[in-house]
C-alpha cells in the first residue's frame, strides 16, 4: 500500500491542473476573506443633511402641502432621519465589534473554511479528474497490473484524495492565519477579541468538513468507476442534487410527517444539518445562528452523522464492487 501511495504522490505532484485548482481555491478563499473584511469594515456614509433635504423634496412627501406646512414639517423629518442614521451607525458599530473579530486568529480559520463551497467543488473535481483520467488515458490497465490487487488500487487513490482534502483545508487554515497576521501588521481596524471559539465543536466542525468532503470524494469515485469517465459524474452529481430538490418538494403535494421527513435522510440535507448544528455550537462568528434545515423527524446528532457516514460507505461499497469486478477494456 505504501508503494502505491508513494507512486500516487510521484504522479499527482506533477499534475499542473491539480495545482491550478489548489491555487484557485486558495485564491478564491483569500479574495473572499479580504473582500469580506472590506465589506464588514465599511461604515455607512455619515448623515448628509443637504442630501437628505434633496431626497425629501424629490420623494413627493410634500405634495399637496402648503409652503408653511412644508417648512414646519421639514426640520422634524430631517431630525428623525438624522436620529435614525445615527442609530443605524451605532448598531452597525456594535455589529462590527463582533463581525470583524472573525478576521482575527483563531476565528479567521473557521471564517475561511467554515462555509466555503469552493473547496468541496474543487475536491469533487479533483476526485473525478484523478480517477477519471485513468480511464481517459487508458492507464487504468497499467495501474491495475502494477497494483496487483484492485482494492488496493482504489484505496490508495482514495487515501491520496483524502490526503489532498486535508492538505487543502490545512492550506486554507494557514492562509487564514497569514491574512489575520497581515491585517494586524498593516494596522487594519480590528476590535478586541471578545468571542472565544469553543475548541471541541470547532475541531468537530473541521472534522465534519473533512468527512463531508470524503463522502463526496467517495461519491465521485463511485460514479467515475461506474461510468469510466471524469466528466459524466459531475453531470450526475448536478442531476442528483436536482432530484433531491424535487423529492424534497414532494411533501407539498402529499403532506405527512413520514414523507416530509424523507429529505432528512438525503446526503446534502444531512450534511447541511450536521454542519449547521455543529457550526452553531462552535462560537464561530458567522456560523452561529445558522438556519438548520427543517427536521420533521427529530434526529439526534450522532444519527445525522451516521446518515452521512452511511452514504459514504454506500459509495465506497459501490466503487469497490465495481473496480473489483469490472472488465478493463481500455
Amino acid at each position: 500500500m505504501m508503494a502505491l501511495l508513494r507512486a500516487d504522490w510521484l504522479r499527482l505532484r506533477r499534475r499542473r491542473d491539480l495545482w491550478v485548482i489548489f491555487v484557485l481555491v486558495l485564491l478564491i478563499g483569500g479574495i473572499g476573506f479580504i473582500a469580506g473584511y472590506r465589506t464588514d469594515v465599511q461604515d455607512p456614509p455619515p448623515f448628509d443633511r443637504a442630501q437628505a433635504e434633496q431626497d425629501l423634496e424629490q420623494s413627493g412627501y410634500f405634495e399637496g402641502m402648503s409652503q408653511e406646512e412644508i417648512d414646519a414639517a421639514r426640520p422634524q423629518l430631517l431630525a428623525d432621519q438624522q436620529a435614525q442614521a445615527e442609530a443605524d451607525l451605532a448598531a452597525r458599530n456594535d455589529e462590527q465589534l463582533i463581525s470583524l473579530q472573525k478576521y482575527e486568529f483563531p476565528q479567521s480559520i473557521l471564517a475561511m473554511i467554515g462555509l466555503g463551497i469552493a473547496p468541496i467543488v474543487a475536491l469533487v473535481l479533483i476526485a473525478t479528474l484523478v480517477i477519471g483520467d485513468e480511464f481517459r488515458f487508458g492507464t487504468v490497465r497499467t495501474s491495475l497490473l502494477a497494483a496487483g490487487n484492485r482494492r488496493r488500487f482504489l484505496v490508495s487513490r482514495l487515501i491520496s484524495l483524502v490526503a489532498m482534502t486535508v492538505g487543502l483545508y490545512v492550506a486554507l487554515a494557514l492562509l487564514a492565519v497569514v491574512l489575520s497576521f497581515v491585517l494586524v501588521v498593516i494596522g487594519a481596524e480590528l476590535p478586541p477579541a471578545t468571542m472565544p471559539l469553543h475548541p471541541g465543536p470547532a475541531l468537530a466542525l473541521v472534522g465534519t468538513e473533512i468527512l463531508s468532503a470524503t463522502v463526496l470524494i467517495a461519491l465521485a469515485a463511485a460514479l467515475t468507476v461506474l461510468l469510466r469517465s471524469g466528466a459524466l459524474p459531475l453531470l450526475i452529481v448536478v442531476l442528483g442534487l436536482l432530484l433531491e430538490t424535487f423529492i424534497a418538494a414532494l411533501p407539498v403535494f402529499w403532506p405527512g410527517k413520514l414523507l416530509s421527513g424523507v429529505p432528512q435522510f438525503f446526503l446534502t440535507n444531512a450534511g447541511r444539518t450536521l454542519l449547521a448544528r455543529i457550526g452553531n455550537a462552535t462560537g464561530a462568528i458567522g456560523m452561529t445562528g445558522q438556519e438548520v434545515p427543517p427536521a420533521p423527524i427529530d434526529l439526534a446528532l450522532p444519527f445525522v452523522v451516521a446518515i452521512v457516514v452511511a452514504w459514504g460507505l454506500l459509495f465506497l461499497v459501490i466503487a469497490d464492487r465495481r473496480i473489483r469486478t469490472m472488465d478493463v477494456t481500455e
Partner: protein, 350 residues
C-alpha cells in the same frame, strides 16, 4: 533453457470470454512451458488480445480457468504483479516524462527507490529512449510508447513477460532492437508469451507457437514440427498414366500438380516427410517408379494462412487440426506394419 517436465507457467482450460453475444474466446486450452518464447498467432479478431487480457486479469472469463505460476488468474490476483506485460496501444500518463512514468509504475510495483533510480536509466537506454527520458510521454509517437512499454516490462526483470504486438508502430531498426530484447529476456530465463502477426518474428524467436482462429487454438507446437506436419511430398513421373495410377493408389492424399521444367506428370501428396520412404515403397510395389520424389516444405506464413483462412476455404485443414472437432481419419493406404523395416527416402527435402 526449456524444461518440458516443469509445470507450465501459463495454463488455460476451456477459457472463454463472451462480449454482448459475441464469443471472442471460445474455449482455449494452453500450456506454456517455462523458459523460451511462446508465439501466440492469429489474424485480427481471432481473440489474441482478449486472451491476453484474460491472462492479465483485466477481463473476467465467461468460462474456464487460467493459471499463471500455478495460481488462478482473476481480477486483482496477487500473481498479476509478477507479470511484465505490454498490452496493445500502451498507455502512459501524458503529463509525465518517460523517466517519471517508469518511476511511478515501478514504485507502484514495489521496486525500491534506490534500485529504480539506476534501473530506469538502464532500461530506457536498452530500449533506445535515453535521449528523450525527460520528454513528456504525451508527445511520444506510437513507436516510442511501444518502447517505453517495453522499458516498463524490463524494469523489474519479471519471470513471465506477456507481449501483445510489441513491434507495432516501430521502424525497422526498432523491430530488430525489440526482437533482440525479447531474445535477451528469454535467454535470461524469463518466459515470453508473444502475440504477434509478424511471422518472421515467430520463426526467429519462438520455441513453440499456438495459432488461434475464431477464439480457438487450431494448431499448437514447436514451429519446426508445425512445418513438418505441413510437409507435402512432390512425386513426378515420366508419363501421365503412371501419375494417374499412383494417384489411384495413394487415394485422397494425392492431388495433381504442375510437373515443372523437367516435364512429365506430378502429384502433390499431403503427407509429412517421414512418410516419404513408405510412399516410395508403396509405389515401387505397384511397379510405379517416380522420376522424382522430394519433400516440399511450406513456409510458416503459408501454414498460418491455411489455418486461419475462412472455414469454407480451408475446411480440410481446419477439420484436421481443430482440437474441439477431431476429424474422422480416412483409411491410410500407406499404413506401415509395426514390424516393417524402414525404407530409404527417395528424395531430399527442398
Amino acid at each position: 533453457m526449456l524444461d518440458g517436465a516443469a509445470p507450465p507457467v501459463i495454463e488455460t482450460r476451456g477459457l472463454r470470454k463472451r462480449f454482448a453475444g459475441v464469443e471472442a474466446v471460445a474455449g482455449i486450452d494452453l500450456a506454456v512451458p517455462p523458459g523460451g518464447v511462446y508465439g501466440f498467432l492469429g489474424p485480427n479478431g481471432a481473440g489474441k488480445t482478449t486472451t491476453i487480457r484474460l491472462l492479465l486479469g483485466l477481463l473476467r472469463p465467461s468460462g474456464g480457468v487460467s493459471r499463471v505460476f500455478g495460481e488462478v488468474v482473476e481480477p486483482g490476483a496477487p500473481v498479476l504483479s509478477r507479470i511484465g506485460a505490454l498490452i496493445e496501444r500502451p498507455a502512459f500518463y501524458p503529463y509525465l516524462s518517460a523517466l517519471e512514468n517508469l518511476a511511478v509504475f515501478g514504485t507502484a510495483r514495489g521496486i525500491p527507490a534506490d534500485v529504480l533510480t539506476g534501473r530506469t536509466r538502464e532500461v530506457l537506454d536498452q530500449v533506445g529512449l535515453a535521449a528523450v527520458a525527460r520528454r513528456k510521454a504525451g508527445g511520444f509517437s506510437t513507436g516510442m510508447l511501444q518502447r517505453l512499454a517495453l522499458a516498463l516490462v524490463l524494469l523489474d526483470r519479471p519471470r513471465l513477460v506477456i507481449l501483445d504486438e510489441p513491434t507495432n508502430g516501430l521502424d525497422p531498426n526498432g523491430v530488430v532492437d525489440v526482437r533482440r530484447l525479447i531474445a535477451g529476456m528469454a535467454a535470461s530465463g524469463a518466459t515470453v508469451f508473444l502475440s504477434t502477426h509478424v511471422l518472421p518474428e515467430v520463426e526467429q524467436l519462438c520455441n513453440r507457437v499456438a495459432i488461434l482462429r475464431d477464439g480457438v487454438v487450431v494448431a499448437e507446437g514447436a514451429p519446426g514440427s508445425l512445418l513438418r506436419e505441413n510437409d507435402h511430398l512432390f512425386v513426378r513421373f515420366d508419363t501421365p498414366s503412371e501419375a494417374r495410377a499412383a494417384r489411384a493408389l495413394l487415394g485422397v492424399a494425392a492431388t495433381e500438380t504442375a510437373a515443372g521444367p523437367n516435364g512429365g506428370a506430378a502429384l502433390l501428396v499431403d503427407m509429412p516427410a517421414s512418410r516419404a520412404s513408405s510412399v516410395n515403397r508403396t509405389l515401387a510395389e505397384a511397379s510405379l517408379h517416380p522420376a522424382e520424389l522430394t519433400i516440399r516444405r511450406q513456409s510458416l506464413e503459408a501454414i498460418f494462412r491455411e489455418l486461419t483462412a475462412e472455414p469454407e476455404a480451408s475446411a480440410t485443414a481446419d477439420d484436421r487440426r481443430t482440437p474441439t472437432a477431431p476429424p474422422a481419419a480416412p483409411p491410410d493406404p500407406l499404413a506401415i506394419p509395426p514390424d516393417a523395416p524402414p525404407a530409404p527416402a527417395a528424395g531430399s527435402p527442398t
